[in-house]
Amino acid sequence: MNAARRFLPLLALIALAVLPALAGKFYVELVAKIMIMAVFAMSLDLLVGVTGLVSLGHAAFFGLASYVVALAAPDPYTAANLWTSLPLAVAASAVLAFAIGALALRTRGVYFIMVTLALSQMVYFVFHDTKVGGGSDGTYLYAKPEAKLGGWSLVNFGDSTQFYYAMLFLLLLVFVFLRVLLASRFGHALAGIRSNEQRMRALGFNTYVYKLAAFTLAGAIAGLAGYFAAVQFGFVNPDMLSWQQSANVLLMVILGGLGNLFGAIVGAFAFILLEDLFSSLTKHWLLLMGGFVIMAVMLLPGGLTRAGDAWHAWRAHDA
């Protein structure tokens, strides 16, 4: 079992690396989308799986960055500059996350869940009801941002394969960053907060500050994902900020398994592939999705990456 655990990620990486050579454009774009969502899911895993903060409003930071890249272009037909628009989008998400977190973290438990939901709804309404970014109609991004360095174009985001590899790079970058973070003192402190916050305070940790830092960082990474989601899709609308989007990413994380980051990646793959599968089966695919969500959470509370443990526990119970 342990050998499989170590080799599976490596195999998966190799598979991802060679995919564009083997599969058609549809799959290349689909997997690129999944990798973006995996980054989004990992950012939420930092909050939920590592720090124990269940946020039902994470889409706000994802969606805000999407809007920033769409609005950062001088007009819908001119390309924005990656080097300016990306930091701007991520910074915007970080600032919003800081603001929402500063307020929401004054509450605990169930209140926290509801407050994150409500505050992100506020952001949704700003984009839906007002004329910012086209209101409920959304806005288009006809020209993808340019990544130029000294006149040379580094990456052409309009090309599916190049975009794919850029996203693979992004996924690896965020994954490694978060793994280093988890092993650091900061990461250990977050894990301690999840395990027993009262104890952490009694030991001398200012847990509010730690939680706020985690919340802001998670928001920034979500913004990173949102930026490229808008770039790929070419269209942004308030749905990217909706609470359904927040619930979906939460589902991805729990589907895959909390706390180990792999779960977020696996969950993103599972969720989007299932979404694709179900919607091809019937018009009422949400029914299948709902049923699936219920089954998955009931039967596999530890998520897919811990399915092995669940299996063994089940076998042991039987014996």
Binding site: F186, G187, H188, G192, N196, A202, G204, Y210
Partner: protein
Amino acid sequence: MPEPTPALAARNLTRRFGGVVAVDDVSLEVRHGQIHALIGPNGAGKSTLINLLAGELAPTSGTIALRGASMARARPHRLALLGVGRTFQRSNVFRNLSAFENCRLAAQARLPRAWALHERASRCDVSATAATQALAAVGLTARSDAPGEALSHGERRELEIAMCLATEPSVLLLDEPLAGMAAEESTRVLDLLRRLRPERAILLVEHDMDAVFAVADVITVMADGSVLASGTPEAVRNDATVREAYLGEPIGSP
């Protein structure tokens, strides 16, 4: 030798919960180099008092001073960083971490960059050393790698103390540390307290009368939220109100 300024002093401390007065006008001092024991029947308000001193609860009225400086409404983490360590009445360890990891996390709190993103927690020698020493002091070295949830009740109480020690506190607030411990474990903890005493101020809440009389320099007796008597063990032992209200028989006699 006790210093003139008490390490921790509570004056006229009162805490109400709605109509109930859990702590009623309590004054007490914990001095450097002393073990101050707090005894009393269940419901006397001892745990509430510890929570007040540790910053978990805000007093309804009264003051708390740490080395003479007022600690009005200081929060737990600030007090911890100022050197006030506490244990909980019900073991409050990190169940998913090993005993060693519990203590290392505790030691990490006082590091200058406890929040460091780039410093690997496992590479930190300072916190690892503090953790090893704390575990050795309570006698848990053999169980360093056992996860919190696998420890026996007595071992968990010892881990509580070890975690407190790992933060190198100057004031210790111990809430029934001996509860549920076997005889040799209790003896070991009492010896530890005697070794710690010269350099620290210790407030010890306990039910075990033999232990209290064996180790305390000062005893305060509480009942129904207020102080019944306070003084040296002999004085308390001979105090008529205490004998009547608390035990109904001479304290500490064989």
